[in-house]
């Protein structure tokens, strides 16, 4: 699967969870890897790109989560 496609899937997953459930990095790796049948490392690399670009950010609320940055 193309990296850009994985990035899109991750973003949509985080977006859909916003306001409902905070996702940890491992939640995203497990879910996307299982749903798409790809290695966790592939998902991790795509997620890292999103974080490096500031499209997604890490937050801390009693634990570390991945979220969409506030506008």
């Amino acid at each position: 699967m193309e990296k850009e496609e994985v990035k899109k899937i991750i973003y949509e997953l985080v977006e859909a969870s916003t306001g409902k459930k905070k996702l940890k990095q491992s939640d995203i790796l497990k879910k996307v890897s299982a749903d798409q049948g790809i290695e966790k490392d592939e998902v991790k690399a795509a997620l890292r790109d999103l974080v490096d670009a500031g499209t997604l950010i890490f937050t801390y609320f009693g634990g570390s989560f991945i979220e969409i940055p506030p506008k």
Partner: protein
């Protein structure tokens, strides 16, 4: 800068024989508004017996999920200097060795971008820079990283590994604690900067079982230098010690397994029963030396009491060679983290998970064979002192 607040409660903490953080904040307040407001803010927290700090949130540097701990005042109008008071953790060098110029450089940077207050070191081991506004985090990070420094770990991540000074100054180190600390730091950069665990995970590396850094109580995984084979005895030096110390009272009777004998001239050790506490070696440094085959004991699971009570570490690998490239060690750590990831709840430390699912399950799932030397909590408390009334005379 003139004094802004009366601080009668904080002033009490300046009294007594010990160094006082209040005194240092007052010194910093002479040239820093942030430190000045910190005094007033802290005094109010003490007076009202309630914290006015808010912790966590969305704060950090681009690409990293840790290294910055968000802290805001909930009364920013009253104390604008501490409206933002974020903490920045900078990865400390192995063994905590610094040149004076490096320290001066870091302090100058912190005077420029933060409150000027530091904490050397935090309990994890990082250099802790206290008090920065959000807009100063990226510039500070850019400056320190351009000088070869990096942020440490925070949040649900591998925290900055730390260790004793090992072979650099201690002849009793059985492993190169500084090299191992550095190698773990470099090997697990992603795990330190991008939090992916159920909760925090700390490594601490002690060169020998004396465990000066108390890793057994403070690290999720302790790596403690040890040895195989017989303790080497220099009987001539034993005889010299006999002239100045009561070997029976101070050594033989204090051996936890009673594996030593001394007839007034010759010392004998039943090495098969030695549990390598290292008391005798540490007390008779010229007469006794560890065996020649060096390695480490790995322990897992200690933690301080935050979510549940405090735990001490459990021996999971009685002996492992700790030599570069440490493949066997990293393979095991990866398996342990995978098990934690699969089974751990949010904010559940590895020691708590091991307690919940049982040690048997842990061994089976990560592929470790049970061994009699996998002792649970080999020392209840490395800083335990008996009270007078506890002692039967």
């Amino acid at each position: 800068m003139s004094k802004k607040y009366d601080t009668p409660l904080l002033d009490e903490l300046e009294k007594g024989p010990f160094p006082s953080f209040v005194k240092e904040i007052k010194l910093a307040a002479k040239h820093s508004d942030m430190s000045g407001d910190l005094l007033g803010h802290t005094e109010l927290c003490f007076k009202e017996r309630v914290t006015h700090w808010k912790h966590g949130g969305i704060v950090g540097v681009r690409g990293y999920g840790g290294g910055v701990i968000g802290r805001y005042s909930d009364i920013p109008d009253k104390f604008p200097g501490v409206a933002h008071f974020h903490t920045v953790r900078v990865n400390s060098p192995s063994g905590f060795y610094y040149t004076s110029s490096a320290l001066k450089e870091m302090c100058d940077l912190w005077d420029k971008y933060g409150s000027g207050l530091t904490n050397m070191h935090g309990s994890t081991g990082d250099m802790v820079f206290l008090g920065a506004r959000t807009e100063n985090l990226e510039p500070f990070f850019a400056e320190v990283s351009s000088r070869g420094w990096d942020l440490g770990g925070s949040g649900s991540a591998m925290r900055t590994p730390s260790g004793c000074l090992g072979m650099s100054r201690c002849e009793w180190a059985n492993i190169d604690a500084m090299a191992i600390t550095n190698d773990i730091t470099q090997h697990y950069q992603d795990e330190m900067h991008r939090p992916a665990f159920p909760y925090k995970f700390k490594f601490k590396v002690a060169g020998c079982p004396v465990d000066c850094i108390a890793s057994i109580a403070r690290a999720d995984m302790s790596i403690i230098g040890t040895w195989k084979g017989d303790i080497r005895i220099n009987q001539d030096e034993v005889a010299n010690y006999a002239k100045t110390m009561d070997i029976k009272a101070e050594i033989i009777d204090m051996c936890p397994t009673g594996c030593m004998q001394f007839d007034g001239k010759t010392m004998k050790i039943d090495n098969s029963n030695c549990n390598r506490c290292m008391h005798c070696i540490a007390k008779m440094t010229k007469a006794l030396r560890p065996g020649t085959e060096k390695g480490a004991t790995l322990l897992l699971g200690s933690k301080a009491p935050i979510v549940t009570g405090a735990l001490m570490s459990w021996v999971i690998v009685p002996f492992i060679k700790m030599e570069p490239p440490y493949d066997e060690f990293y393979d095991l750590v990866d398996k342990i983290w995978e098990w934690w990831d699969e089974n751990g709840k949010n904010r559940e430390r590895i020691g708590e998970l091991m307690e919940r699912l049982t040690f048997t399950r842990f061994l089976k799932d990560v592929g470790l064979d049970p061994h009699p030397a996998m002792v649970k909590e080999p020392r209840r408390d490395p800083f335990f002192f008996w009270a007078e009334e506890d002692i039967e005379r």
